[in-house]
């Protein structure tokens, strides 16, 4: 109808999203009948708000920014609108297959990836040169640990490695789970028994804990992605293993003091067959309670289109284009010049959500377990590991308590 439709978008306050907010003029030009309202929130608050709203069918938002974890679960509940009709020129087949798989439920796409990521090693080439070290393309954990300890000089506020420690299923648990995967550990056996009491877990967690104690920054137990990013940009970290999207921030000379001396490598492994890299996408979805479904879809089609990537490239440069969502981007010769492009794609392609670790598991998800209880489990367990990192308990204690918590939760949820 003639009235302007309002689309309320709940989104997270990270750089790509905020950039998108700045580019809405382009959308408005193309769709003068649609008004966009932005609700930008910090990640934890966003998740809480969005979950609350969708679980109660509150209908406050027309577009949700959600992750790979929520999409299949919510889709299974019928809470999301299928996105298989975003228009002819949308070219859904161009979406990187791993992403598309992760954001689909029973073969139908329910959330369109805005950007996708895996994780990798980012390191300071200048420091490595200075110390006479060389980072292999495919490092092992052993090598990483050695480098980290060598590079650490706490008096000079130089820390060998920065890793996530802040409690949260999307914070430290994401990282620790990938470490555990690469050490051959798993969350559950095929009967949904928690496996945190396994020797693999102990090995992985002990390794992580010791490494952070020796070579991590102070306060690592409260450092999440953002804190580590700030540290790395300030030049305080020798290495940082985290999301591939960080690459564009650390190489951006406006924000980063070390922009011209960052190198990249694949996430490490232990030689047991799995690398410690995850797969994640921030995606846009439409809740079924929305009263502006069509307008919302038009917005999503715009925001996740190839054109949008070009738009960003033209205003902000190729290195600031949201990565990891479309195959065509990586085929673009201009984008190929971006230093981290290839490493990002390779990391993404290495990830296999169906087979996250060495052994078989009954669940999907690499750095998470795609069941509704995961948020609770992940956060509770994350707190135990955070406490451990803060020196309040040993890895054994942390694992024992996490094991107990997880079993309690699973029992209540009726898995056993």
């Amino acid at each position: 109808d003639a009235h302007a439709t309002t689309v309320t978008i709940a989104t997270v306050n990270n750089g790509d999203m905020i950039r998108m907010q700045g580019l809405t003029d382009d959308f408005n030009e193309k769709h003068p009948d649609i008004t966009l309202e932005w609700v930008t929130l910090e990640e934890n608050i966003l998740r809480q708000r969005v979950t609350q709203d969708i679980a109660t069918n509150g209908g406050q938002f027309d577009v949700l920014t959600i992750g790979m974890y929520e999409t299949p679960i919510w889709a299974a509940q019928g809470w999301l609108v299928p996105l298989d009709d975003l228009g002819e020129d949308y070219d859904a087949d161009d979406i990187i297959p791993a992403m598309r798989a992760g954001l689909s439920y029973e073969g139908t796409l329910y959330a369109a990836p805005f950007y996708g990521e895996s994780s990798m090693v980012m390191y300071r080439t200048d420091l490595f040169d200075e110390a006479g070290l060389e980072m292999p393309r495919e490092p092992t954990w052993e090598q990483i640990a050695e480098f980290a300890r060598t590079l650490t000089d706490k008096d000079a506020e130089q820390y060998g490695i920065c890793l996530r420690g802040k409690a949260g299923w999307g914070e430290n648990m994401a990282f620790i789970t990938t470490v555990a995967n690469s050490f051959g550990a798993r969350w559950f056996d095929e009967e949904w028994n928690a496996q945190l009491d396994s020797p693999e877990w102990l090995e992985a967690v002990t390794f992580y804990n010791d490494l952070m104690a020796d070579a991590g920054p102070p306060g690592a137990a409260t450092n999440g992605f953002n804190e580590n990013l700030a540290l790395f940009q300030q030049g305080k970290c020798g290495m940082w293993i985290d999301a591939t999207v960080a690459a564009s921030f650390v190489t951006n000379p406006n924000d980063s003091e070390v922009a011209d001396s960052v190198g990249f490598a694949l996430a490490p492994d232990t030689g047991r067959g799995k690398r410690a890299n995850w797969l994640w996408a921030w995606a846009l979805a439409v809740p079924s309670g929305s009263d502006a479904t069509d307008a919302a879809k038009q917005f999503i089609a715009w925001a996740t289109s190839k054109d949008y990537l070009e738009l960003v490239a033209s205003t902000e440069g190729w290195s600031n284009v949201p990565p990891g969502s479309r195959t065509s981007l990586y085929k673009n010769p201009e984008y190929a010049q971006v230093p981290f492009a290839e490493m990002t794609l390779e990391s993404i392609n290495l990830a296999d959500p169906g087979n996250p670790t060495v052994d078989q598991v009954p669940y999907v998800g690499i750095q998470y377990v795609a069941i509704p209880e995961w948020q609770g489990i992940g956060t509770s367990a994350g707190q135990e590991f955070s406490n451990m990192l803060a020196g309040q308990q040993t890895p054994e204690e942390a694992l024992a308590r996490a094991q107990e918590l997880v079993n309690e939760e699973m029992e209540a949820a009726g898995y056993r």
């Binding site: 934890n44 809480q48 979950t51 609350q52 679980a55 109660t56 679960i73 509940q77 706490k154 506020e157 802040k166 409690a167 949260g168 920054p217 102070p218 306060g219 690592a220 137990a221 409260t222 700030a230 540290l231 300030q234 305080k236 509704p372 209880e373 948020q375 609770g376 956060t379 509770s380 994350g382 707190q383 955070s386 406490n387 990192l389 803060a390 020196g391 309040q392 308590r401 107990e404 918590l405 309690e408 939760e409 209540a412 949820a413």
Partner: protein
């Protein structure tokens, strides 16, 4: 005043406030009570209206419950102790002849106006950050290694933040109370041979008893509900998970509404037990 007409008018006048609050209390509380006996997990599309006391048993038998109760008591108790003790000292100081008293008062009251989220953010990032925080700058300046407040002394840090916010409140109430003390009483005590410390102990402190109970009552009401400070700083880790926060995690993070509701009901009961004691004390002090 006590004519029939005024009595019935009084009933009429109280009606809106009482009805509104009764509704505000009863409707959500009844629903929460109902949920607390249900297995209600929206993310699983589970809704089973009656599962008995399972939620209560699970909530209270989980090890986090008692930890949370202890944390809550320690946190609230410490903040009360800090704000009351420092509040008294500050009030005594402000009662002295001071140049620029107005400005001093404005500076001291300011933290009270800062919204909890902002105050937590400011303390976490600007003050306590182990790398960029002011404290770390200071300790580096003094040649010490920066203390990592939020991980090494998390509970203390939150207590510090919240105390900072509430100290002005305590100070101002206590200051007004001190200023209301009849000067002749102090003079009488002086004539009776009481030195300053004894005057404080025997005259000023008892005079403050009423104000102190008010401070404790009001602060307890607000402190039991502390949320933003924890959410922003530690997210409940490192032993800073209060009962309120635990309920939050159950309801919103785990989306286990039944379990969380049971926790909510338990929190209401515990809060009211504490309140009952306080109200008794205040009631007595208000009559006196």
């Amino acid at each position: 005043m006590a004519t029939k007409a005024s009595k019935s008018a009084a009933r009429l006048m109280m009606a809106p406030a009482v009805t509104l609050l009764l509704g505000w209390m009863l409707v959500p509380l009844t629903m929460t009570l109902y949920f607390s006996f249900a297995d209600y997990r929206p993310l699983r599309a589970t809704f089973e209206p009656w599962i008995g006391f399972d939620n209560y048993v699970r909530f209270t038998s989980s090890s986090s419950f008692w930890d949370a109760v202890t944390t809550t008591l320690v946190m609230v108790g410490s903040i009360l102790a800090i704000t009351v003790v420092l509040g008294i000292l500050l009030a005594l100081l402000l009662d002295k002849p001071i140049f620029g008293q107005g400005i001093v008062r404005i500076l001291i009251i300011s933290p009270f106006f800062v919204m909890p989220t902002v105050s937590a953010l400011v303390w976490k990032n600007m003050m306590m950050d182990p790398v960029n925080g002011v404290f770390s700058h200071v300790s580096r300046f003094l040649g010490a290694t920066p203390h990592d407040f939020l991980t090494q002394t998390p509970l203390f840090s939150i207590i510090l933040i919240v105390s900072w916010q509430w100290l002005p409140f305590a100070t101002l109430i206590l200051l007004t109370a001190i200023q209301s003390l009849d000067g002749e009483q102090l003079e009488a005590a002086e004539m009776d041979g009481a030195p300053p410390l004894k005057r404080f102990w025997h005259i000023i402190l008892p005079h403050l008893a009423r104000a102190i109970t008010i401070v404790i009552l009001i602060q307890t009401i607000f402190l039991l509900a502390i949320f933003a400070e924890i959410f922003v700083t530690t997210q409940g880790s490192f032993g800073t998970r209060t009962l309120t926060y635990l309920v939050f995690q159950r309801v919103l993070e785990s989306q286990n509404v039944g379990l969380g509701s049971a926790g909510g009901i338990i929190a209401v009961i515990l809060a009211n037990i504490i309140a009952l004691f306080l109200m008794r004390a205040v009631g007595k002090n208000l009559d006196a």
